[in-house]
């Protein structure tokens, strides 16, 4: 498969009798902690694009949150949440704006798009969340870092306006 930066895994999550692992080809799998048998599996990325996952999932309030990688090869970064019991999709948050000819997912993306120039969305824009994220239960906040933008060269993605 087409993936950047080696097929490592940065760990698993354990919650309520299940072990959660994200696979290099973009699946999120729940295993029975006792038997190791899969309970559910969901594909969290577009398999036609060079997404990978090396991140350890996190379980937050009954949902598994997972990001991905691949900005080196041209993808759009995001994190997604799935119901830990069933694998049902709950929500997704993109880190960079998409194609401005389509509706933005939220106000943050509309604001962010004003800071980009050129046709960044054709290469995805990058900003992948590849390192495992953190959660503060007292503030109920998720913290994560993002990767480089794409095109790598900011004079291209910002039309020398950056």
């Amino acid at each position: 498969m087409n993936g950047c930066c080696d097929a490592v895994s940065r760990g698993v999550a354990a919650w309520n009798g299940k072990i959660f692992v994200a696979t290099f080809d973009g699946r999120l799998v729940a295993l029975d902690a006792t038997s190791g048998k899969p309970v559910w599996s969901v594909l969290t990325v577009d398999p036609e694009k060079p997404y990978t996952i090396t991140q350890a999932p996190r379980v937050i309030k009954g949902r598994v949150v997972i990001g991905n990688a691949g900005a080196e090869y041209g993808v759009r970064g995001y994190i997604s949440a799935y119901d830990a019991a069933t694998g049902k999709f709950a929500w997704r948050f993109y880190t960079v704006p998409g194609d401005p000819s389509k509706p933005f997912e939220n106000q943050a993306m509309a604001m962010a798009a004003k800071t980009w120039s050129g046709e960044w969305w054709k290469l995805g824009g990058g900003g992948t969340v590849w390192e495992s994220l953190s959660y503060d239960p007292a503030l109920n906040l998720i913290y994560f870092g993002v990767s480089n933008g794409v095109e790598w060269n900011h004079t291209v993605r910002k039309c020398r306006k950056g």
């Binding site: 087409n2 490592v8 895994s9 698993v12 080809d25 190791g36």
Partner: protein, 33 residues
């Protein structure tokens, strides 16, 4: 004890003895393009 390895495999060990309890291989296609 639960650990993940390269190619997204998972292994469960008895933490007292080190005995392998189960292992899971998600069969990630390994061929590089």
């Amino acid at each position: 004890m639960y650990v993940s390895t390269a190619w997204s495999m998972v292994k469960a060990y008895d933490a007292a003895s080190g005995k392998l309890l189960w292992s899971y291989d998600p069969q990630v296609p390994a061929g590089l393009e």
